[in-house]
Symmetry: C2
Subunit: 143 residues, 2 copies
DNA sequence: TCTTAAATATGATTTTTATCATATTTCATG
DNA sequence: CATGAAATATGATAAAAATCATATTTAAGA
């Protein structure tokens, strides 16, 4: 449903959200260690996110990754989209091609409402909201 | 979250639930085709389910797979357990080791309630209930 | 402008998951 | 009791996901 890569990416973005800023860029090795993800692996993911404009970066000395004002207005699902592709977020539990409200598979009604609210929650929450939650003790770091 | 193999297994069990009985066993090739899963692959899964007593089988001529009275009193999550292992059904969205109600990760509250009801639904619904649903038009076959 | 520190691009390797193949065992039936 | 039809056991291959390695490009600062 959601890949390992996406999870790593989310953790990294959350880390950046809390610890970085335009004036305080962070380089991969200082991200990889605290979030406990192999450095070359998270590097690749961060590069992909940067290319797709979900996070910001600059090269060279004093360079690194950070989140701009625009970046913190993204939500978590956008990260998943970039890493995993659009694919199966809306997909049927059994991955059936033709399953929908009109023609539901037998398990459709068991999971659909729950998943819909889950998705709504994830899409409605921006990165900056999550940072606020952390500050208010509603979610804990480090990851 | 849930593997391809589990999905195939569920489809096969559903198929058996509707089409088989102790007097009408079905052999793998007659299951594989209608549910659209490669024959050798579904064979392996069915064997595993049979070994773990979630479905029934007999060998030899006139043999095949079917669901006994006991078998139709199972729920879908039991199938997933057998195929995927216990692992991540209760796991944190970000696969964090130490995430729980007391010490939630930032996304915990966004998904946890939804997932809990989803799981409750899946565990509460028995195979025989699903068959009833299909008969009452609340879920469609074929898959 | 040269050196160095960082991201970036590209691709290789490893591990896991999915798929396929084959030989063996069991059972019904003639 | 021999034959053939079925599941079962085991393992091989292929595809995908995760992980790792290296050469290139960019930018800051001496």
């Amino acid at each position: 449903m959601i890949s390992n890569s996406s999870k790593y990416a989310i953790k990294a973005v959350l880390f950046l959200a809390v610890h970085s800023s335009e004036e305080n860029k962070i380089m991969v090795k200082d991200i990889a260690e605290p979030i406990n993800v192999p450095q070359p692996y998270i590097a690749k993911l961060l590069q992909e996110l940067a290319k797709r404009k979900l996070i910001s970066s600059t090269r060279g000395p004093k360079g690194g990754f950070y989140l701009s004002e625009a970046d913190v207005n993204r939500n978590i699902m956008e990260i998943v989209h970039v890493i995993d592709g659009e694919k199966k977020l809306n997909a049927c539990f059994l991955s059936l091609e033709h399953c929908n409200e009109k023609n539901p598979c037998p398990v459709h009604h068991l999971i659909n409402a729950s998943r819909a609210t889950m998705m709504k929650n994830l899409k409605g929450k921006l990165i900056k909201d999550l940072v606020l939650d952390v500050k208010n003790g509603k979610g804990k770091l480090p990851l």
